[in-house]
Every structure is written in C-alpha cells, then in structure tokens.
C-alpha cells in the first residue's frame, strides 16, 4: 500500500469519525446516516452481484426482513430502548442468514435472467407477507418500534450514525477480505465462466450460496439499524424496490466488482438523491432524475467510475514514461497504443479493476 493511500484512508476515517462532532445538526446527520447506510448496502450487494456476476434486484427482501425481525424482537423481548437494542442487530443478521439460505437454495438453481426475476419475485413475496400477516407485522398499518426518549435534539441521530458507520466498515472489510481470498478468486471465476470454474474444481454451488448469504446478512443488519432509526416500519417502505435498485445502481456507478466502487457510488449518489427527493418529492419528478442518472451511467459509463479512472491514470502514466515522442506516429506508436488498451476482458462491463 502506498503512502498516498494510507494518508487518504486516515483522512477518510477522520472525517467519518468526527463528522457528527462538527456538523451535529439533524439535517446533516440524517443525510450522513442514510449515505453510510447505502455505502454498506452497495458494498454488501457487490459481494454477490459484483464478484459472482449474479445480479440480485431483490436484496430489499433482506433489508426489510432484518428490519422486521429486529423490530419484533425489540417489542416482544421488551428491550429497553437506548443502546441495548443495538445488541440485537447481529441476531437480526443471523435470522436473515437463515432466510437467505432458503431463498438462495431456490433462486440459485437458476442463472442470469431467471435469477434476476426470481430475486425480484421473492422481494414482492416478502412484502406481501408483511402486509398479510397482520397479527405479526401489523400489516399495512405499520409496526411501531420503541425509541430512546432521552436522546433528544441534535443527539438523536448520532448513535445511529456510528452504528451505520460500524456496519459500513464491516461490509468494506468483509468485501476486502473476500476479494483477496481464494474464496473470492473462486467467485470471480464463477463470474467469468461458471461452467469452466466448475470444471477446474471450484465448488460453484457452495461458493455462490456462501456469497449470497454473506451479502444478505450484512444487508439484514443494516436493515435492522434502519428500522430502529425510523422507528416505524411499513411493508412497502422497507421491502422497497427502490432500495433494492439503489444499491445496484451505486455499485454500477462506482465500478462493479471493485472494492472502492460501491463506496464511491453511494457517497456520490445518495446525498444527490436525498436533495432531489427533498426538493421535488411531492411531484415524483425525482424518479425521472433518478432514471436519467441511471441511464447515463449505464449507457456512457458501463464499467463504472473506478475502472475508467484507473485506466485513464494508467494510460497517462504510460505516456509520461514513454515521453511525448510516442504520440508522434510511426510503427512504435502502433504497438504502444495497443499496449495502452485495456485487455479485452477489462473492457466488459463486469471487469475487475
């Protein structure tokens, strides 16, 4: 790791840790909580979607399930609101894991397009369960969670901020670890060619399911903190297709299958989205804005920011090393120019950095 990278990381960590100290007003911290939430969600989604290439549009199922299982535990176990409920977040994660094993076992019998559809279907299935199991979830009338009355004013958002920060960091660390491990290598092999991966001995079924469950657990825990934060759960607002698609868009914007891509995508997009929803929320025009960003990203920058910038830097460095004469033409330029081109695989939308 270069010194520049270390300094950058330390700076990011300092800003993240001290933000609520310098900007404690609820409007700012609310934005920060939701942005960190999407940093975590996009990173967690990327573990499945980016590394294995299995696009899930239904991760909101785990988000909502985490929120509801957390809420029901807090209510039925009579946990005193305050810091104690945060201890139940990992439990909500475990419950989400059991759900993810079931859904994954069924959904991963399919590939590509069918997998996408099946994940969407499962999300709507859970939304419907949330609405219909009125005796458990309260149905469409919603589920009210207890909250800490003693956290008033500017302080209210701050515990949630650090909880979201912790989960976002956890997601990034898990993603980083997977990216470097043999397991991660197996996932990338599945993305590139699943049949060949199986042929060379990657246990594809087990690997896919493991990645799916890890990704779902992180999303479920984030959902739990979100549920505690908003204190009121409605099926259509936690099993929300927009949440499911947002994390995908952020991962795509930053760079699918990269470590920093989903983080950058979330930090860029979520504040913009919140600002837009705040200004044009009533007219639903923000959906048009959202669609426009989405289309521009996919049509003009299908590989995402991180891989594109990395390529640009690489070619700049190349040019500097070779010197300006390299652009002057001649046979040498032809070979060098083709050397600047990223390999064919890297030009595909799903390329690694």
């Amino acid at each position: 790791m270069s010194a520049l990278k270390v300094i950058g990381l330390v700076l990011v960590a300092l800003v993240a840790l001290l933000l609520p100290v310098y900007a404690p007003d609820p409007a700012t911290t609310n934005k920060a909580v939701l942005t960190l939430m999407f940093v975590g969600l996009a990173t967690a989604w990327n573990i499945m979607g980016g590394y294995t290439g299995y696009i899930s549009l239904g991760h909101a199922a785990f988000f909502g399930f985490g929120a509801y299982s957390f809420g029901l535990m807090v209510i039925h176990l009579n946990v005193t609101p305050g810091y104690a409920p945060f201890l139940l977040v990992p439990v909500a994660g475990l419950l989400t894991a059991s759900l993810a094993v079931g859904i994954g076992w069924i959904a991963l019998r399919t590939r590509a397009a069918t997998f996408v559809i099946v994940t969407i279907a499962f999300m709507f299935m859970l939304q419907l369960l949330g609405e219909n199991l009125v005796t458990i979830t309260g149905g469409g009338a919603g589920l009210s969670l207890p909250y800490a009355h003693e956290w008033g004013g500017d302080f209210f958002n701050i515990p949630y901020y650090y909880a979201m920060l912790a989960l976002a960091v956890l997601a990034v660390v898990v993603s980083w670890w997977i990216r470097r491990s043999k397991f991660g290598l197996g996932l990338l092999a599945i993305r590139d060619d699943e049949d060949k991966a199986l042929a060379v001995g990657v246990p594809t079924r087990g690997f896919k399911l493991t990645a799916y469950v890890i990704s779902a657990v992180l999303v479920g825990m984030i959902g739990a903190v979100y549920g505690y934060y908003v204190t009121y759960l409605y099926p259509q607002f936690v099993f929300d297709p927009l949440v499911g698609i947002s994390m995908v868009l952020m991962a795509f914007l930053g760079g699918l299958g990269t470590l920093s891509g989903p983080v950058i995508g979330a930090v860029l997009l979520e504040p913009a989205q919140l600002e837009f929803a705040y200004r044009f929320g009533a007219s639903r025009l923000y959906l048009v804005f959202y669609a426009a960003v989405f289309l521009i990203v996919i049509l003009l920058l299908p590989r995402g920011i991180v891989p594109s910038v990395a390529d640009l830097l690489r070619s700049l460095r190349h040019r500097r090393l070779i010197g300006p004469s390299a652009t002057a033409g001649g046979l040498g330029t032809v070979t060098r120019a083709s050397g600047d081109e990223p390999p064919a695989a890297a030009q595909q939308g799903l390329a690694a950095p």
Partner: protein, 291 residues
C-alpha cells in the same frame, strides 16, 4: 361449487389479458435475450394514454387502441434504438437495469402529469353484466378476452405464417445463424420490441378498465408478469399463454376458497414450486441457453 366454477370462468377471462401482456414480454426476451422490467410501466402508460383520450375527447377506451397501439409501437422502436441497442457487452444484466430505469422514469413522468391518485377507465361495459347459466359476467371481461384473443391470434399469425415472422423465430432460435443467412437482426429486434410494447398498450386498456391504477401500479404488474414468463419458460409464447391461464385461474380459486389477500401469494407459491421441480419452466430450454 358454482362459486368455484365462476372463479374458473373469471380466471380464464382475465388470464387472457395477462397472456397478452406476458406474451409481449416473452417475445422481447426471446428475440433479444433481454428482460424488459419496464413492461409493467408500459402497460400502465398505455392505460394512461387511453385515460387521457377518454378524458379529453370522450373516446371509448377500446376504440382509442387504434391510436395508442401504433403510438406505443413507435415508442417501443425508439426505446429499443436509444437504450437497448447501445448495450454491447453483458447485455442481459445491463438491460435489466436500463429497463428498470425506464420504468422509474415512466412512473415519475406519469406521477408528474397525472398525480399519484388512483384512476379508472370508465365505460358502460365496466359495470353492465349479463347472465348465462346462472353466472353474472361483466361485459368488459368478455370484450377484453375477445380483444386479447384477436391480438394474440394476429401475433401468432405473423410469427408462424409470414416471412418476417420466420425471421423473428429464426432470431429467437439462434441470433448468429440468423444473421449469417441474411436476416437483419437489428430490424427484427426493433420490430419485435415495438410489437411487445404495442401489446402492452392493449393489455393496459383492459387492465385499466378492470382495475383502479396509479403510476406505481407497475410494480405489482411486473412481478406477476415476470412470474408468468418464468413459469412458462423464458422466450416461449405458448408457455406464457398457458402459464397465464394457470396462474389466474388458481388465483381466482384461492380468492374464493381462502381469501382475496392471499390470492396474490399463490403466484409466488407456484413460482417456488416450479423452480424446485423444473427451473427452466414449462416450455423452457435447459441450461444450454444459460437462462
């Protein structure tokens, strides 16, 4: 017993409408290998176009199809040209996202123009009914069913009795081979997308008369339509029609026997069951197609 029989009749009649909408979706998948997640939004858009014509010119919803279907066909061709064709790599995954974005854009634009309030297409046949063998059937279901049969019939005629239909089917079977024997697959794709979107307009009218709808209605619709085409086997028209009938009849029977709130749930139960037993759907091809 009569209730169940009535549910079956109603299921078949509404199943026809879903068969039409789902066949547009599966046709698009078959030709281009893309899943048009925006299909539900296009259905809702079709319903709103007819709604606008009804409100401004008092045009009968079924009659307004003469205007909206060609318009939606053109829209489909344009959407295909602008948003789908540029996707060169990893088309399957990216197209899902692009069409999802289109759905959001359509939802947002409709919400801006028509607000989020629920509306309904009103016509005399919406409530008028007739009695037959002791059942009461509302006229709109019959009209809708006949319309859908006619359009589906026309679709099958084009696909199986014309040279262009042959080109479409060839492209569905093997895109590269179709290109090699001189089929202009880009044109085939554009027309097939247009046809799929035009069927969405027709489905939208019947949907709009039988249901109150708002710009957000497309989520519910698309999850049903996607389930239908997975059940039928992606890319199979026959499968889509049969799956739509199975789904809607089962749904209406559940509505009678158990409760309306669980009727929707049947869709997902059938989906899970079919995935466990036969992941490729009723008429789908095995993994060779990578679906």
């Amino acid at each position: 017993m009569t209730l169940i029989l009535e549910a079956v009749v109603l299921g078949v009649l509404t199943g026809g409408v879903y068969a039409l909408m789902a066949s547009g979706l599966t046709l698009i998948f078959g030709v281009m290998r893309i899943i048009n997640v925006g299909h539900g939004a296009l259905v809702v858009l079709g319903a709103y176009l007819s709604f606008a014509l009804l409100r401004s010119f008092h045009m009968d919803p079924f009659l307004s199809l003469l205007l909206t279907m060609p318009a939606m066909f053109l829209l489909g061709v344009v959407l295909q040209f602008v948003f789908i064709r540029p996707l060169k790599t990893d088309r399957e995954a990216l197209s899902v996202l692009v069409t999802y974005a289109l759905a959001l854009g359509i939802e947002g634009a409709l919400g801006y123009v028509f607000t989020a309030n629920f509306v309904e297409l009103r016509a005399w046949y919406e409530t008028a009914s007739f009695g037959i063998f002791g059942f009461h059937i509302t006229w709109v279901y019959v009209f809708g069913f006949v319309l859908c049969l006619a359009i589906l019939g026309a679709l099958f005629l084009v696909l199986y009795r014309t040279a262009f239909g042959g080109a479409i089917r060839a492209t569905m079977l093997n895109r590269t081979a179709a290109q090699l024997i001189g089929i202009d697959v880009d044109r085939v794709a554009a027309v097939a997308f247009g046809m799929g979107v035009a069927t969405a307009a027709a489905g939208g009218v019947v949907f709009g008369i039988t249901n109150a709808f708002n710009p957000g209605s497309h989520y519910d619709l698309i999850s049903r339509l996607l389930t239908i085409i997975v059940l039928g086997g992606l890319g199979s028209l026959r499968g889509a029609v049969i799956a739509a009938l199975i789904m809607l009849v089962t749904e209406d029977i559940t509505q009678v026997l158990i409760s309306p709130v669980w009727a929707n749930f049947v869709f997902f139960v059938i989906l899970v069951a079919i995935l466990i037993v036969r992941p490729q759907g009723l008429y789908g091809l095995r993994v060779r197609e990578r679906i």
